[in-house]
């Protein structure tokens, strides 16, 4: 049981260590992402800026969303695609809570796409971390909204005919206060961006480009975790103040990471206080 286990790893106090090892396949990027997020959170808590009792993690369904299994905080593992809707209710009902949503690209931008759009439009006070692994991993490798064209998946055996969705571009068209992209090959950027997001109000979005050696790796011939990691690492480039055009994801030309958007529009809670007059 969580409370009885001894903490060994520096992040153990944030983890339900009795549920570790995670269910993730060896070398899966989701664990790297979670580690980086927890380091950022740890810093903010140590700075005294965040009360650990007021943090709520919300995940839908998918490998990525399952991160909420492992955090020793209030957590909700809800319906596929509905994490943002659930999170919206949480933060509006108790604005003291810091609400963190984690999910895969299918969960957040596929089935949950409508909630994603409207939460960003409303500038709802939540942080959404979307882990893009280019595939529906948990269900065994079907095409995802982010799968690049041409890739053979279990439901596109002749190659994916569809152009992918670019979540960063989508968020840039809405009313969010923060949008950034990092990669599991750059955990320090995940940490930095998440740290930054923790200090901002309104809708904050971080896309983490991840490796799924088990499923996506098999689709693209990079089954070995190290090989997949290295191939992604080669393609990822940090750019200060990247433009909208830089948000394109192109496996051949490379993937730009960085902070695409940072602003201080009134958040939904602030807007509400405005019209409610308090």
């Amino acid at each position: 049981m969580a409370v009885e286990s001894i903490n060994i790893h520096p992040l153990d106090k944030h983890l339900r260590v009795d549920r570790i090892p995670t269910l993730y396949c060896p070398g899966c990027g989701i664990g790297i992402t979670l580690g980086a997020m927890l380091r950022a959170l740890d810093k903010r808590i140590n700075e005294g800026l965040i009360d650990p009792n007021k943090i709520v993690w919300v995940g839908g369904i998918g490998c990525s969303a399952r991160t909420v299994f492992y955090v020793r905080y209030d957590a909700a593992h809800v319906l596929h695609g509905r994490a943002i809707a659930f999170a919206t209710g949480v933060v509006l009902a108790n604005p003291e809570l810091l609400v963190i949503v984690v999910g895969g690209d299918g969960d957040i931008a596929g089935i949950g796409g409508n909630h994603f759009i409207h939460a960003a439009r409303r500038n709802i006070d939540i942080i959404v971390v979307m882990i893009t692994n280019f595939v529906y991993a948990m269900t065994g490798g079907q095409v995802a909204p982010t799968t690049p064209r041409g890739v053979k998946t279990t439901t596109t055996p002749m190659g994916n005919p569809e152009p992918p969705l670019n979540a960063i571009k989508l968020v840039l068209a809405l009313n969010a206060n923060y949008a950034a992209r990092a990669s599991v090959t750059t955990p320090h950027y995940i940490e930095n961006f998440f740290y930054k997001a923790l200090g901002i109000k309104g809708f904050r979005f971080i896309e983490v480009i991840s490796t799924c050696p088990e499923i996506y790796g098999r689709h693209i011939g990079l089954r070995d975790p190290v090989e997949m990691y290295n191939e992604l690492k080669k393609r990822v480039k940090y750019k200060p103040k990247p433009s909208i055009e830089d948000a394109d994801i192109d496996w051949e030309k490379g993937i730009i990471i960085g902070e695409f958007l940072e602003r201080n529009n009134p958040s939904y809670l602030e807007l509400l206080r405005g019209v409610y007059g308090k």
Partner: protein, 76 residues
């Protein structure tokens, strides 16, 4: 647990958390880690800081381990 240290840094591997993905071994810029020959309770072979003297304390293994299985501390 496997723990090795030199004057400045200590590297610890929590053996039963490791899934033998090899990321830590590959990422280490000074090649401190090698795959050990022991098997953990799930049958995975965790890394071993065999060349600990070279460790520069960059923590890349810690940050890139998806399974919270390895970490680096400053020796005080």
């Amino acid at each position: 647990m496997i723990s090795r240290e030199h004057g400045k840094f200590r590297v610890t591997v929590i053996v039963d958390r490791c899934k033998e993905c090899g990321l830590c071994i590959a990422i280490c810029p000074v090649k401190v880690l090698v795959r050990s020959s022991i098997e953990n309770k799930y049958g995975y072979r965790p890394p071993e800081p065999s060349d600990i003297e070279k460790c520069i304390g960059c923590k890349l293994c810690e940050y890139n381990c998806p399974d919270f299985a390895i970490f680096v501390e400053k020796v005080v």
